[in-house]
């Protein structure tokens, strides 16, 4: 269970999530400092830790469109936060799964700031409104990476398997 801390619209680009002018760093210890830098309210909520672990950011369609920059994922990965979007841009979604950022695809999601959400199986329950929304499961190739704990452990496992053969 977690609260919705912010609701974003459609087509939130990687430049919004992590502005290009901070791309000089790739360190996961540094990128969280610049998260949503140009959306001041959300930025402050995250960097000043004004949320509870497991809270949600809800977004519209095409979240993470634009650049392949992995900082857009590592910046969010710095916070114990879940992202629910109507859908995600391809590279961002793959990067999220590779780095272990919890992302949920929910085309019908309806939620406002402050709503209590819970992920139960293949559904999101909005306890505030009493409505339930179906989640689209991740493609099986992506789920395998999630199950392995991210792409690095997954690749390590694959490599060991290949060496044994």
């Amino acid at each position: 269970m977690g609260k919705v801390i912010y609701v974003l619209g459609d087509d939130i680009s990687t430049d919004i999530i992590y502005p290009g002018r901070y791309m000089a760093t790739v360190l996961p210890t540094e990128t969280p400092k610049y998260v949503f830098n140009d959306i001041k309210e959300l930025h402050q909520m995250l960097v000043e830790n004004k949320f509870n672990p497991g809270d949600f950011i809800v977004a519209g369609k095409n979240f993470g469109c634009g650049s392949s920059r992995e900082q857009a994922v590592s910046t969010l990965r710095g916070y114990d936060i879940k992202i629910i979007a109507k859908d995600f841009a391809r590279i961002f979604l793959q990067n999220s799964i590779n780095l272990g950022l919890p992302t949920y695809i929910c085309p019908e999601i309806e939620a406002s700031v402050g709503d209590e959400l819970e992920i139960v199986g293949d559904k999101v329950i909005n306890h505030t409104t009493g409505k339930e929304f179906k989640l689209i499961p991740h493609h099986k190739s992506r789920q395998a990476i999630i199950d392995a704990g991210g792409l690095i452990p997954y690749t390590r496992k694959k490599l060991l398997e290949e060496r044994k053969q």
Binding site: D11, A24, Q94, L99, T155
Partner: protein, 324 residues
């Protein structure tokens, strides 16, 4: 020296039928040579290096776009792809491949095809692709210096497409993508007269020799408007040198432009040409997201080299077809 999306094609690293991955979303560009080419993240690239193969390719559906008719003077491949992105929307091709067909594409040179495929990602596409043909071979032999055999991989005659779109290129007018999304595309008549502080010519989208030539032909012997900065950044060192030999760079500089080193330049706001508060840029690059050119309090309009050059002369967005 230069942008990978120019360096790879011009040195023959990309061939028809190749699978190309790169840690940049505009890796879609290489589909111009008949490769299946897409962007991935840095960790995924480490995995590719480790395993020697790409994981997780969800077989995409394909949108077939058939373009026929001759482009009007001063209407360019950039206008065509802006129009297509506007038509499909920012996620209209998410997880899909856009395949280009028709006479307009067949008679388009590889530079133009690179511009088309480059921006397919702005409609969310995994990749853009032009089936290879005689022009592909010409480019690989004459420009990229490829000497060995080139295998032509083309679509099956019974290939299935999830969507087909027909476009009449002869009716296309110059297009402009307005702030702050690339799919906010309007015909130039709706944005003419908007005041510009900075003109940007270059990038992996429009930093090729033909693009510099187009701008040179409009600007030679003239002066860009007072109060307007114009930055030119060729896509590669080879283009830079060739443009210098042909006098394009001198002509652009004499018109008042500043020519900077080959590379990504001001496109993504990490260096060179970051905008000031309240400033407006008109750029031949590929993205106009809020803050893209280094300042969230600025605006970026996207256009073709012809529109950029014509607007440099007036200081406002200008239709190059009405040129003086």
């Amino acid at each position: 020296m230069g942008i990978c999306h120019q360096i790879l094609p011009e040195n023959g690293y990309v061939r028809p039928g190749y699978l190309v991955v790169g840690t940049d979303s505009h890796t879609t560009s290489h589909g111009a040579l008949g490769a299946f080419s897409f962007g991935i993240g840095a960790t995924e690239m480490a995995s590719v290096w480790t395993l020697g193969r790409i994981l997780n390719v969800q077989v995409p559906e394909t949108i077939k776009i058939v373009v026929n008719g001759k482009l009007q003077d001063f209407v360019e491949p950039k206008d065509l792809i802006l129009y297509i992105v506007g038509l499909l929307g920012a996620e209209g091709a998410n997880y899909k491949v856009i395949e280009f067909h028709g006479e307009t594409i067949r008679t388009m040179n590889t530079s133009g095809r690179l511009t088309l495929c480059n921006m397919t990602v702005e409609a969310g596409a995994t990749s853009g692709i032009v089936p290879p043909d005689d022009e592909t071979i010409r480019y690989l032999r004459q420009v990229a210096g490829v000497q060995d055999e080139i295998e032509m991989v083309t679509p099956d005659p019974d290939a299935q497409y999830c969507q087909e779109i027909a476009i009449d290129a002869s009716k296309l007018v110059p297009q402009v993508a307005c702030p702050h999304t690339v799919d906010n595309v309007k015909p130039i008549s709706e944005v003419e007269g908007i005041k510009i502080n900075q003109i940007v010519l270059g990038s992996c989208t429009n930093g090729r020799l033909e693009d510099l030539e187009t701008a040179y032909n409009i600007l030679k012997g003239k002066k860009i408007a007072r109060g307007v900065r114009m930055l030119v950044f060729p896509a590669s060192g080879r283009i830079y040198r060739e443009a210098a030999k042909r006098g394009y760079l001198l002509g652009l500089m004499e018109a008042g432009a500043v020519v900077v080193n080959p590379g990504c330049g001001p496109c993504l706001g990490v260096h060179q040409g970051a905008l000031g508060d309240g400033e407006v840029a008109l750029s031949t690059t590929n993205r106009n997201f809020k803050g893209r050119m280094g300042n969230p309090n600025s605006e970026v309009y996207l256009c073709s080299p012809s529109v950029a050059a014509a607007s440099a002369l007036t200081g406002v967005i200008t239709d190059p077809r009405k040129g003086g």
